[in-house]
């Protein structure tokens, strides 16, 4: 029988201890967002097959996708895109450049740039309701 080393404490405790490092969190978030985006590309491809069924079918579907709930979900999905994209660049820098020396600084840039672009996309996507809101305040 193969030797099975016993962890000094429970499985959960060992893993929680491991994940306290920012790099480990970056790694696990990269996997979760990656799986999420892969699941989404399947939904996306399937949803767009309605294009082959003519304008009525597509526009009806888009009526659902442009309701406030779906617009907010669409915006939240962009956070997965931004994180996975910028952390992906960080991974490439660590692998192919000397990113390992300052991967924590790069991680700060990843989160910072992500938040800025996420808010920017929010302003773009919700410019009409936002404009109406500010008009009513004024």
């Amino acid at each position: 029988m193969a030797y099975q080393p016993k962890p000094p404490e429970g499985w959960l405790k060992t893993n929680l201890k491991y994940y306290k490092h920012s790099g480990s969190w970056a790694w696990i978030l990269h996997r979760i967002t990656g799986l999420g985006l892969t699941a989404y590309i399947f939904v996306h491809i399937y949803a767009l097959t309605s294009l082959t069924q003519g304008p009525q079918a597509f526009d009806n579907e888009m009526k659902l996708f442009t309701t406030p709930v779906f617009k907010v979900l669409e915006w939240l999905l962009f956070s997965l895109v931004l994180y996975h994209a910028f952390n992906g660049v960080r991974i490439v820098l660590v692998d192919w450049a000397s990113g390992a020396r300052n991967h924590k600084k790069i991680l700060t840039v990843v989160y910072g740039l992500g938040v800025v672009l996420f808010i920017g996309m929010g302003v773009l996507m919700f410019r009409e309701p936002l404009a109406n809101m500010f008009a009513s305040i004024r």
Binding site: R31, G34, L35, L37, T38, I41, F42, I45, Y46, L48, T49, L51, T52, P55, F58, D59, M62, F65, T66, E74, F78, V81, L82, A85, F86, G88, V89, I91, V92, D95, W96, L117, M121, L124, M125
Partner: protein
């Protein structure tokens, strides 16, 4: 080593390709979001989408996008599974699901793009 994980290759080619396709997707997906999702008029009406779909550039763009995006996503998913010690039967089943679903949805997407 590989004997026990049911793999013959080192995985190096797919590792390099994962990074190359990833760098491509950083630009393409963020660009796609600004063109298609930031503006309801350009992304969510049949007329606007069809107008783009009839241009060879956007056709090529979408075909590349769908191929690279699916490959990157599914190769990444397989990479996650590969991190765990799997029995050969489990490994083969998961690999089969990944390959078959990838081909099926690639055909579905390409069919949508090429029907215009």
């Amino acid at each position: 080593m590989y004997k026990h994980t049911g793999s013959r290759g080192s995985g190096a080619p797919s590792w390099v390709l994962q990074r190359i396709t990833g760098l491509l997707l950083v630009v393409v997906v963020i660009g796609h979001y600004f063109v298609m999702h930031a503006n309801p008029a350009s992304g969510h009406t049949y007329a606007a989408v069809l107008e783009r779909m009839h241009q060879p550039f956007w056709k090529m763009f979408d075909l590349t996008f769908i191929t690279v995006g699916l490959w990157h996503g599914l190769n990444g998913t397989w990479g996650i599974f590969r991190d765990y010690k799997m029995k050969p039967a489990v490994s083969l089943t998961i690999y089969g699901i990944i390959i078959l679903s990838g081909i099926a949805f690639w055909v579905l997407g390409v069919n949508t793009i090429l029907s215009f």
